[in-house]
């Protein structure tokens, strides 16, 4: 009985998320009494594939795509066929852009119940019950997956990587992708910037930043900490910062280890986007701002006055 985990690659490389997925899949495999098998689609060097075995993958299957384009239908067909060939009982994907595209299609194709956006191991495997957040983190629910095959998508930054080295077994499988209907016309990529969804530390600003011209110290703090920058919805709506930085219910949902909310009052919709964050630090001039109910650490004060002090304190920490 196997647990198949789809490990996406970024220009032939894996990242922390890939290892979180394999660690998670191998724990699920232990629970169902099976083994974790990783699936990689596209061109990835063996040395990179071997890394997956470090986190518990007993076998690594590679499939060549018929195309460079990410065609949701074709990828679904490939993953479904591999799952069927293996007789996989559980298929694990990331709850990221690609996982959100593929998991629901796979659910229908394999007639497999989908537990979307889980952050913990299943509560039980017989019956198969998963725990996930609902109402954008305002509540949680236990959901039974009633089908024979199950699909789980794992929330990023929610599961600790565990080393569990296995002998490396790489197998190339021939699977036809079928018709490719997606034509990619153009790709725009930012390079050299930490992705908001990957970041372990995020420094985020709200209306308390007062003007689009005041973000220098916030960016400096982020740079010093190796953090990504983010913002609240009013800030992106005003055009002070790009939409891609908007964190909240309708923007990006993130789960870093540490989140600085600078001049953000903490509307329910904002909290919904950061509710799985491990530690929230809030800086706000209003002591009654709701952000302090979500935060573990707080400073009451004006963002523009507190930021330079935080920058100095981090510089001092780094000089030690």
């Amino acid at each position: 009985m196997s647990v198949l985990v789809y490990t996406e690659n970024w220009d032939g490389k894996f990242k922390k998320l890939s290892f979180e997925l394999v660690s998670y899949a191998s724990k699920v495999a232990e629970m169902v009494g099976g083994e974790a098998v990783a699936l990689s689609i596209g061109n990835v060097e063996n040395a990179e594939l071997e890394k997956l075995a470090q986190y518990g993958a007993k076998k690594i299957i590679t499939v060549d795509p018929a195309t460079q384009a990410f065609d949701e239908q074709a990828y679904t067909k490939v993953i479904a066929e591999v799952a069927q060939k293996l007789g996989a009982k559980v298929v694990v994907l990331a709850n990221n852009n690609k996982g959100k595209a593929l998991a629901p299609r796979l659910s229908v194709r394999l007639k497999a119940a989908l537990g979307a956006g889980v952050s913990k191991l299943p509560v039980s495997t017989s019956p198969f019950v998963v725990y996930k957040k609902v109402y954008s983190g305002k509540a949680f629910s236990d959901i039974e997956l009633k089908s024979d095959v199950k699909i789980l998508t794992l929330a990023q930054n929610s599961f600790d990587i565990t080393t569990n080295p296995q002998a490396v077994v790489i197998e190339k499988m021939d699977v036809a992708a079928g018709d490719i209907k997606t034509e990619v016309k153009n790709v725009e990529k930012q390079t050299g910037k930490i992705l908001l969804t990957d970041a372990e530390i995020v420094v985020s600003g709200g209306r308390g930043m007062k003007s689009p011209d005041n973000w220098g110290p916030l960016e400096e703090l982020a740079n010093l900490l190796g953090a990504a920058t983010a913002c609240s919805r009013p800030v992106s709506d005003e055009g002070w910062r790009p939409h891609g930085e908007h964190t909240g219910q309708t923007g990006k949902i993130i789960a870093p280890n540490l989140y600085f909310a600078i001049g953000i009052s903490g509307a329910t919709q904002h909290i919904a986007g950061i509710s799985s964050t491990k530690y929230i630090v809030a800086v706000n001039s209003d002591k009654d701002a709701p952000i302090f109910e979500a935060a573990q650490y707080g400073i009451i004060g004006d963002a523009m006055k507190v930021l330079p002090k935080l920058v100095d304190a981090v510089k001092e920490m780094k000089s030690k």
């Binding site: 979307a116 996930k132 034509e183 016309k185 491990k278 400073i299 920490m317």
Partner: protein, 248 residues
């Protein structure tokens, strides 16, 4: 071309949710609204219809749910949808919703189907992709811009750290997110009046077995009280993050 926008009826996003016996949502005092992402999808569909170059003749909204959701459907009509279809069943899960919607799309031959990327209740991000697989048609997910040019789709989808412009043939499902429309359109008085006479077709459901079942709901554990540090002493905060939280 005909566009279908799938809408979900959800509690207003500012709602503080409560449950009865850990098993169902306490609906007392809840304001029901069009799911925010679906509302953006509807706004974009209407913008496309208004710009003749997209070649859109009609925008229909579809909802899977009981008659209690009609005020939300009327709101979609007031915003500007031409007509609506409601599949008369209380769906048990996203799989059932998608399966019912697939019948609607097949019966009426919609060429473009728009779904919001997530619903504000179960946060599954599932219905759009499931629907596309039921229809065996292409889907594009994380869509932040969409138009039709000479009958061909021009779609922007978000990828990690950037975006791609892609095209897929009709019929297709676009699963849309923030950016697809600037702001949700608000119903004007004239639209509200017009919506009263717009048709809502009630379709009978197909028999579908759900794949999942909610066993219980629970509230998040309360977080510990916030620890305040004096604004003059930022160093103390950094020390707490290093030594107590161990995140630096």
């Amino acid at each position: 071309m005909k566009v279908l926008v799938c809408i979900s009826n959800v509690p207003d996003t500012t709602t503080k949710v409560k449950f009865v016996d850990e098993s169902k949502l306490d609906t007392n005092g809840i304001q029901w609204v069009i799911n925010p992402w679906d509302e953006l999808a509807l706004t974009r569909a209407l913008e496309m219809k208004e710009d003749a170059s997209n070649g859109i003749e009609a925008v229909t909204v579809a909802h899977v749910g009981l008659a209690a959701a009609e005020p939300t459907i009327r709101k979609a009509l007031a915003i500007g949808a031409d007509n609506a279809i409601r599949v008369n069943v209380d769906p048990k899960d996203a799989y059932e919703v998608a399966s019912q919607l697939a019948q609607v799309v097949k019966a009426e031959n919609f060429e473009i189907v728009l779904c919001g990327i997530e619903s504000a209740d179960h946060n599954g991000s599932t219905v759009g992709g499931m629907l596309a697989e039921f229809l065996e048609c292409p889907s594009v997910t994380c869509v932040s811009s969409l138009k039709m040019e000479g009958g061909k789709s021009v779609i922007t989808r978000e990828i990690d750290g950037g975006k791609e412009i892609v095209s897929v043939p009709t019929p297709f499902v676009a699963v849309v997110q923030k950016g697809i429309a600037k702001e949700p359109r608000i119903a004007a008085m004239r639209g509200i009046m017009a919506a009263r006479t717009k048709p809502i077709k009630v379709a009978e459901p197909q028999a579908v077995a759900s794949l999942t079942e909610v066993k219980k709901y629970e509230m998040p554990k309360p977080r510990a009280a916030c620890k305040f540090v004096d604004a003059e002493n930022a160093g103390e905060l950094i020390a707490l993050l290093q030594n107590e939280a161990k995140v630096l």
